[in-house]
């Protein structure tokens, strides 16, 4: 699937900057940044509730293309800025990590 397919699943895009519509090959669900850093595959979407700037740092280092923030967590503006600066697409949803993971996994097939 592509990054833009996350919108098709009903998720709200928080980053407004034009970015390349990367291919997403995998997904990873987790809130512990060390765990994400060590185990998230590259070219992936991260499903998490960690809505702050440090998540973007980890995503950039691990090659994560998109982040989906679950559970209606408020996204601070400095997180959106950091995401745009580093070309990481940022989305939000009211769904839980479990629901979102199931939907994204289904779309990936």
């Amino acid at each position: 699937m592509k990054v833009s397919d996350l919108e098709a699943l009903g998720y709200t895009r928080e980053t407004k900057k034009e970015m390349e519509d990367y291919e997403i090959k995998a997904g990873y669900t987790g809130d512990l940044l060390s765990d994400v850093m060590a185990n998230a595959p590259s070219d992936s979407v991260l499903i998490t509730i960690q809505a702050h700037k440090n998540t973007i740092a980890v995503a950039t280092l691990a090659g994560i293309r998109a982040i989906l923030v679950c559970n209606k967590r408020a996204i601070p503006s400095d997180m959106i800025e950091a995401a745009e600066d580093n070309d990481v697409a940022l989305f939000k949803t009211a769904e839980t990590q479990f629901e979102a993971s199931a939907k994204v996994a289904k779309m990936m097939g």
Binding site: S34, H52, L61
Partner: protein, 316 residues
């Protein structure tokens, strides 16, 4: 120094200032036991307290928990549309921007820049009001801390900015030294990004870059979360990558525990940010070909090596 490249620092502001921004907690700067009213108090009571104490904002406390905040605007709205016998709960704002007492004051500075309010309520982890903080409180706490820091600054600065010649191998291709500050969550990960960039430019294999990134990130975060600040030294050698971190304390009381998966001494606030899961050092060890750690009360030193050679031969 021959092959040593220019030293690159993460942040060029004066160390003492940065140190106080990241090490002083909101708790130490705030005004404890602030004046407050209850939701069922009258607006007249609130107005009198604000007038007598020269306050432009008053927290509203229900039991011990913060229920809202009352501003001069709310008092004015009451004058215009209601009666001073009305209850505070009718006018107070329930949408309160607040600080937690364990946060470093860098957060408070950020809030004063971001929001127009002149004071913020401070809560503890049970969501109970424990203080109020103004810009004046912040300045006072910082000056106080800077004074203390200055006394020991000269010695520490020397130790951090002079590379130890014994650390630099004669065949070093690239040498970089980065200073990392305690509680500098704003910049956490920037050193690792810089290292990743260097390796990418050099055409290092993706799988090696990932291992180096994991090790560098965990070591960098350890300096931010657990140390009193320190330095991260990166060296690219013809056959390997070496990373060394050295901090100013306080040291690891039990090294064996620190190397155990899941063991962590991080505070609740740090854990809520997704750190402190007890995976840091074990992760570093797992991706390194060589791992050495030593620690006492003057500081901790970690040295790791990741070989550039054929990965299949190596323990992962």
């Amino acid at each position: 120094m021959g092959s040593v490249n220019n030293l690159l620092f993460v942040n060029d502001s004066h160390e003492v200032i940065l140190e106080s921004i990241y090490t002083v907690r909101v708790k130490e700067a705030m005004n404890s036991n602030p004046m407050h009213v209850a939701p069922e108090d009258t607006m007249r009571t609130a107005k009198n307290i604000m007038k007598e104490n020269g306050l432009s904002g008053l927290p509203v406390v229900d039991g011990a928990r913060l229920a809202g905040i009352l501003s001069l605007y709310d008092i004015m709205a009451c004058y215009d549309n209601g009666s001073m016998d009305d209850k505070v709960s009718k006018y107070m704002s329930r949408d309160v921007i607040l600080l937690e007492e364990d946060m470093p004051i860098s957060f408070a500075i950020n809030y004063f820049n971001k929001f127009k309010f002149r004071r913020f309520p401070v809560i503890n982890k049970n969501k109970e009001l424990t203080g109020m903080i103004t810009a004046r409180d912040l300045t006072a706490a910082m000056l106080n801390n800077i004074n203390k820091q200055l006394q020991k600054y000269d010695k520490l600065n020397m130790r951090l900015s002079d590379p130890d010649p014994a650390d630099i191998r004669s065949d070093t291709v690239i040498y970089r030294q980065f200073i990392v500050h305690k509680y500098d969550f704003e910049n956490a990960g920037k050193v690792t990004s810089e290292i990743k960039k260097i390796l990418k430019e050099r055409g290092i294999k993706q799988s090696i870059i990932r291992r180096v990134s994991i090790a560098a990130y965990e070591l960098e975060i350890n300096l931010v979360v657990h140390s009193d600040g320190g330095v991260l030294i990166f060296q690219l050698l013809p056959d390997a990558i070496m990373i060394k971190t050295q901090d100013k304390g306080p040291g690891i009381p039990d090294l064996e525990k620190a190397l155990t998966d899941g063991f962590s001494t991080a505070s609740e606030w740090i854990r809520s940010q997704g750190f402190g899961a007890g995976m840091g050092l074990p992760n570093v060890k797992r991706v390194s070909n060589d791992f050495q750690i030593s620690s006492d009360i003057t500081g901790t030193e970690v040295k790791i090596k990741i070989n550039l050679g054929n990965e299949e031969d190596e323990s992962k």
